[in-house]
């Protein structure tokens, strides 16, 4: 549907487009980190694209890959009705230096979306005017949507009451509910990768 957009971007940035695909009809471009801001600025301002809305910005963590994170944006043109997904791979395998240019000067929605992405995945947006945590509290350590953040780790701001015989303190851990047949993406502890054959 928006295949011509891919062509337009390839034409304007021949070196920056690393790959493209159209899985399930969603046209996707993978661009080089250095061109991240420029490609978005082009898509926003060009008369043939007119991407006036940054619909979504998020990131996905792939601990086995290098660069480790994929920052994903979804753009929409209200006037022309087409959509495009852009992706960029950033970050070292340790997740220490994960940096990408901010889009806050292009769309106001990037402000909170980038703050959320920073909060949840620790991607630093260079040039963001107000990059601080948004959903979690400032004292929080780590970034919960990273795959190496244990899902059952707790960081209460106020310690739990010390009461005897409390066996269950939320969250209840991997054994809660069905412990079998689950695959866990946590690298924490023993992963529940037992197949249904071993279930008992």
């Amino acid at each position: 549907m928006a295949q011509h957009l891919v062509g337009l971007v390839r034409q304007a940035f021949p070196a920056a487009v690393l790959s493209s695909h159209a899985q399930h009809g969603d046209d996707t471009l993978v661009v080089a980190p250095s061109a991240w801001h420029d490609v978005h600025a082009f898509l926003k301002s060009d008369a043939r694209t007119k991407m006036d809305m940054l619909v979504d910005l998020t990131a996905v963590d792939y601990p086995d890959r290098e660069p480790r994170f994929e920052v994903v944006t979804h753009l929409l043109s209200l006037e022309l009705g087409h959509r495009l997904r852009l992706k960029v791979a950033v970050g070292d395998s340790e997740g220490e230096v994960v940096e990408i240019a901010t889009l806050t000067d292009l769309w106001a929605s990037a402000n909170w979306l980038e703050r959320e992405c920073f909060d949840m995945l620790g991607v630093k947006f260079v040039g963001h005017p107000d990059l601080r945590r948004i959903l979690l509290y400032p004292e929080f350590v780590g970034h919960p949507l990273r795959k190496d953040y244990p899902a059952n780790k707790i960081q209460p701001l106020i310690p739990f009451r010390e009461v005897d015989n409390i066996e269950k303190v939320a969250p209840f851990g991997l054994d809660e509910g069905m412990s079998f047949g689950r695959q866990s993406h946590d690298s924490w502890g023993k992963s529940g990768e037992s197949g249904p054959g071993e279930a008992n």
């Binding site: 899985q23 809305m53 979504d56």
Partner: protein, 404 residues
């Protein structure tokens, strides 16, 4: 205390000039939702404001990565908890887009009817709560009464009034009940009559109108740049509705209009929800006509749909199929998808990444509320402190969806 000098001109009285910090929230009777506004006031007008969200963050996106795809449904229920059916359908459609399946026509109309009913209950809650926060308690009670009529249908269909978990990948949990059509046909006119009563009660009220008119203005360009969608964007004059712009289910085949505002103030955002409820009623009316009485509700696809119970108990094939789907979870092909529907507050998007196993690799919920709430700072800066309440109410921030 010094005696008041009556000779003094009003302009000669020196008021303190240092700004005052006022903290509203996170739990405040005038805020329907847990949000905190740290405001810097000069007199009564707001100079700067810092809107802080996240008090209802429960880590849904992380929790989704631990179960199966079907186990995500209860989480999306609790995102926008005043219209859970729209979230259910939105997530189911994202999974179906990835699997490349389309649900039967009967199910599509069923989803539309339930979805539009949910949209009405969403808008009723928003409009009612907004009126209540401005002191009009009666309309709130009336609208909650109307919402209860809708929830009675939901209860009859799904067994739950609020968090239904009724959507399934490839269909719905149950086909419509026998009395569904009659029930809907009986309830919708009642809701509409309650709406017109509320309209007469509120829209002739000077105090109510004065608090809303010309308050919380935003330009269409700003609204688009902020990523606003749904009623708030349409109140700014942009006729973007996912149901019209990118029709899904059978929205392309029913007649309805997209109401658009002109002034982009709180009153427009309030009125547009009334108009949308009337349009929802139109959609429901047409969909009920076309909803077939017989026919399958789920796709005929053993990869995703659980077999019939009597087969599970009697044949080994169905037992194994049931076991595989429940224990391993249904398998979505590896890849990524972005699927979007019109939720109660705007474009509800799901960006799913699957690695081909039965467990989601990444479930990103694109919450319309989050971006709408991001615009709160812009619309209340420069306004009076009393305007915060109608502005916040008109945006319809749903804590569960905003914070997830």
């Amino acid at each position: 205390m010094e005696p008041l000098d009556l000779e003094l001109e009003a302009t000669e009285i020196e008021l303190p000039v240092e700004p005052m910090l006022v903290n509203v929230g996170p739990s405040h009777p005038a805020m329907h939702g847990t949000v905190r506004c740290v405001m810097e006031l000069s007199g009564e007008s707001i100079e700067h404001v810092d809107v802080q969200v996240g008090f209802l963050h429960r880590g849904f996106e992380k929790m989704c990565e631990r179960g199966t795809w079907s186990q995500v449904f209860p989480y999306v229920d609790r995102c926008n908890y005043v219209s859970p059916m729209l979230n259910n359908v939105g997530f189911a459609m994202a999974c179906e887009k990835m699997l490349g399946i389309e649900v039967p026509v009967r199910c599509q109309y069923y989803r539309m009817i339930l979805g539009e009913l949910a949209r009405m209950s969403d808008h009723l809650t928003c409009a009612g709560a907004m009126a209540m926060e401005l002191g009009a308690f009666t309309p709130f009670l009336w609208m909650v009464k109307a919402r209860d009529l809708i929830w009675d249908i939901m209860e009859e269909e799904t067994g739950a009034r609020l968090t239904h978990s009724f959507g399934r990948v490839g269909g719905m949990a149950k086909p419509p009940t026998d009395g569904f059509k009659e029930h809907v046909r009986a309830v919708v006119p009642q809701v509409l009559s309650i709406l017109s009563e509320c309209e007469r009660l509120l829209l002739g009220n000077r105090i109510f109108l004065d608090r809303l008119e010309g308050v919380g203005l935003i330009s269409a360009e700003d609204a688009i740049s902020l990523g606003w969608t749904g009623p708030c964007l349409r109140a700014a004059g942009v006729p973007y509705d996912v149901r019209k712009a990118h029709p899904y289910l059978k929205y392309g085949e029913v007649e309805f209009d997209v109401p658009v505002g002109t002034n982009s103030d709180c009153l427009d955002r309030f009125l547009i929800r009334f108009d949308e409820m009337k349009q929802s009623a139109r959609i429901i009316e047409q969909s009920v006509e076309r909803l077939a009485d017989q026919g399958p509700i789920n796709v005929d696809d053993p990869r995703v749909i659980l077999p019939e119970k009597h087969e599970v108990y009697s044949t080994i094939e169905a037992t194994i199929q049931h076991f595989k789907i429940v224990m391993e979870g249904l398998k979505l092909p590896a890849g990524e998808v972005y699927s979007y529907t019109e939720g109660g507050n705007g474009e509800l998007g799901f960006y799913l990444v699957s690695d081909g196993s039965g467990t989601p690799y990444r479930v990103r919920i694109r919450p319309p509320c989050f971006l709408v709430t991001a615009g709160l700072e812009r619309i209340i800066t420069g306004q009076m402190i009393a305007d915060v309440v109608p502005c916040f109410g008109s945006l319809n921030m749903i804590g569960g969806e905003c914070d997830r």
